[in-house]
Amino acid sequence: MQALLDNLDPLLRALGTTVTITLVAGVAALVLGTLVTIARVSPVPVLRGAAFCYVQFFVNVPLLALLLLAVFALPDAGLIMPLTTTAVVVLAVYEAAYVAEAVRSGVNTIPPGQLEAARALGLRLPQILRLVVVPQALRAVVQPLGNVMIALVMNSALAATVGVVELTSAVNKVNLVEAQPIPIFAGAGLVYMAIALAIGLAAGRIEKKVAIAR
């Protein structure tokens, strides 16, 4: 434990990076994932097909492969971004596929009668989505989205392999000097656990607050 306390400063900075990556990628994934779901349930076949392919691609390719491709293959194609930015973008598009699947299950909870009623009231498609479908779909899947966000925190550790100095990378460095892998990695594990617990509890409270009384 002393080994961790001696290196508190760089570790806290790295924890900050982990939290920042999670927040930025998390918000981006929620927005992108919701848009993908809207495309997925839209009446336009091309959009539906594109959204389906998007989800299948990102759910079926390992995140590490995506990260390595983005960091080492994109520069050959002429696109070079800072490492942390690259990691955030990859995490966001990857988790968006899982967000999309969660939100789609929320869409499925909306009774078809509501859509018919909305149409009968003269609402146009964008209005139906904005006023009827998306608000109810999101409220129904707060806990699953919380789980996706927890997975995002854990997945952010993979950024360590491509040179981003986040929590996992920082504890690796500390271990290199102190040579005490068990307390050091157990400590890091506890911090990840605390973040996951915080997200889980927050999701529980948000769910209670926004639950739809039926």
Partner: protein, 318 residues
């Protein structure tokens, strides 16, 4: 009917996309790891060392003390070694024949197995670099041959036999870079290092203003340097020499700026085993097997002959 059709067709498309992505990944990986090992030398190394292994020293029955670690290994019939599988010239697995692992570290491990068991019977436990101390402490491995730099912090957790080799960190830059001529020019620069290598701490010590970016493997770090993600790559001189020999895009500038004494990691406070391994090390240095292994592995990228091995126990922590 319509939805049935779409459902059947799209997974095929997704599978194709995945296949394309994976092939690209495989290509880039294969391309960069190829750079490490000159294939022609590999076969030479294997055949060249057969004779060395055949004549390698074997410990006297009396040296295998009863109830010692050596006796336990002999009883088991195999030496468990913590070692990398992706370190060219040090410990490299042959991609086409996974049973064939060769290099300076692993060939020495085979010599130690011969010394104890009479045959080069080893079992490799990778990846060892983050968890070497734990693997030794809980007995998963008997010894660690893993470019394991002897430090006093590490010596509190485990014991080191040796040192058996001394290397040092050097600086590599892209071939067209004429601004950097050594570690002294790295102040304020973005420096690439390998994760869990001594460079992670050595670079900030030499150049506090340098920004350090670490990558998980050596091929990744080389790729990052070539793509301009950093100004220089600091790594073990031998490894850089191997990279530079096969990759015209990078070059080594300046001399090594540290001395890294590599030790053989052993369980802490096992004085008998440490003494035993040190005796073995002296024996193979005196009888020439140490130099023969060096010639077949690290010697293939060096212009000079086998160096004088470092004196055993000459480093704090050993």
């Amino acid at each position: 009917m319509r939805s049935m059709l779409t459902r059947r067709r799209t997974p095929v498309l997704a599978a194709l996309l995945t296949a394309v992505a994976l092939t690209t990944a495989a290509c880039s990986d294969g391309g960069s790891s190829d750079t490490g090992v000159p294939p022609a030398d590999d076969t030479a190394a294997a055949s060249g060392l057969e004779a060395v292994f055949a004549d390698a020293p074997v410990a006297d029955e009396a040296d295998i003390l009863p109830d010692s670690t050596m006796a336990a290994i002999k009883e088991r019939g195999v030496l468990r070694v913590g070692a990398a599988l992706d370190a060219p010239l040090l410990s490299q697995q042959d991609p086409s024949n996974p049973d064939e692992v060769s290099g300076f570290d692993i060939d020495l491990a085979k010599l130690l197995a011969i010394y104890i068991l009479g045959e080069p019977s080893i079992e490799i436990v990778p990846p060892a670099s983050e968890t070497r101390e734990a693997l030794l402490a809980n007995g998963t491995v008997d010894v660690v041959f893993n470019t394991y730099t002897i430090t006093e912090e590490r010596a509190e957790q485990i014991s080191f036999a040796g040192p058996y080799f001394t290397s040092g960190l050097a600086v590599a830059v892209t071939a067209d870079n004429d601004d950097i001529s050594g570690i002294e020019d790295l102040g304020g620069k973005n420096v690439i290092v390998g994760a869990n290598t001594p460079a992670v701490t050595a670079v900030p010590e030499e150049q506090p203003t340098a920004e350090v970016t670490s990558f998980a493997t050596d091929p990744q770090a080389v790729q990052a340097l070539v793509q301009g993600r950093g100004d220089a790559y600091v790594q073990d001189y031998i490894l850089l020499a191997t990279n530079a020999a096969s990759n015209p895009d990078i070059k080594i500038v300046g001399d090594p700026f540290t001395a890294e004494p590599y030790g053989i990691g052993l369980k802490h406070d096992d004085a008998d085993f440490k003494q035993f391994v040190n005796t073995w090390l002296e024996t193979i240095q005196d009888e020439g097997q140490w130099a023969a292994v060096w010639e077949e592995t690290l010697g293939t990228v060096s212009d000079s002959g086998a160096p004088t091995p470092p004196e055993i126990g000459s480093v704090p922590g050993s």
